[in-house]
């Protein structure tokens, strides 16, 4: 969604073409991200003409302030939905930065790793908005990610297993 998409595109801005093809996964209810992504990829194709990317939509796992019990149900549904997608793409790397959408995708990749089907490296970058506290996605994925990156020193202190590189967006 919105801010998350802008941030993640900034994270991608300096990556080499080794990080290709790029598979973008976002919520079916998200109207604006597709345009931002296409614009980014179009620009990228000017420097890297062989650039490849795909777009996949998944059901949104949780609305803002949705109740706990219904969130568990919708997230489980999203995980089930994500499994075939993650299986199909078998990514080497999942990069995410916090929208609820990323949790089921990461969990499904984690499960595929447990089942020895595909080992995906999960890199989570907490949003720049998060200075003192982690988002809910962050709190969950702190335990499931291979690398958990925070952008403010307070979070590094609170979450010692995280990586602090300063502001990267």
């Amino acid at each position: 969604t919105g801010g998350h998409t802008t941030e993640i595109l900034r994270l991608l801005s300096c990556l080499s073409e080794s990080y290709s093809p790029r598979h973008y996964v976002f919520a079916d209810s998200d109207k604006m991200s597709e345009a931002k992504i296409r614009s980014f990829e179009q620009k990228r194709a000017e420097t890297f003409p062989k650039s490849q990317f795909t777009l996949d939509r998944i059901p949104r796992s949780r609305e803002v302030r949705q109740s706990w019990t219904s969130s568990v149900v919708t997230t489980l549904y999203s995980i089930l939905y994500s499994l075939p997608l993650t299986y199909k793409r078998k990514p080497d790397l999942i990069l995410c930065n916090g929208p609820g959408t990323c949790v089921p995708v990461c969990i499904s990749a984690f499960l595929l790793g447990l089942l020895r089907i595909k080992r995906t490296i999960i890199v989570y970058v907490e949003s720049i908005c998060r200075v003192e506290t982690l988002s809910l996605s962050g709190k969950i994925l702190y335990y499931f990610s291979d690398y958990f990156i925070v952008q403010w020193p307070d979070l590094k202190k609170k979450y010692p297993k995280s990586v602090y590189l300063g502001r990267i967006v």
């Binding site: 900034r10 080499s16 990080y19 080497d92 970058v125 998060r130 502001r167 967006v169």
Partner: protein, 104 residues
């Protein structure tokens, strides 16, 4: 106007920006080097938006206030106290990932 695809032009030609505490709005404005007053309105906001605005204020990059103190802030503000905002460094992230994948 209600919605535009991009406020970039408007921000570019402004002398002062008054905005809600959304990260995108704050960062876009700061990156264009425009003075920014962030307005907090508790009813609509998650606490986490407040975190960034508070930190940016602590670091001296923005002024902040709430709806009822906006006028007072505008009257008494001293924009010269605001510090220039250094850009983020996505190249550090790229470097980090390259190391993870042994791509240096």
């Amino acid at each position: 106007f209600r919605f535009k695809d991009s406020l970039a032009e408007d921000v570019q030609s402004a002398d002062l920006v008054i905005s809600h505490a959304g990260a995108g709005s704050c960062l876009e404005t700061l990156e264009k080097g425009k003075p920014l007053i962030v307005v907090i309105y508790d009813k609509l906001m998650d606490n986490h938006q407040l975190e960034l605005a508070k930190q940016l204020h602590r670091d001296g990059y923005v002024l902040y206030c709430n709806c009822s103190t906006l006028v007072e802030t505008l009257q008494s503000m001293d924009l010269s106290t605001l510090k220039p905002f250094p850009p983020g460094q996505p190249e550090k992230f790229a470097s980090f990932l390259d190391k993870v994948f042994g791509l240096q």
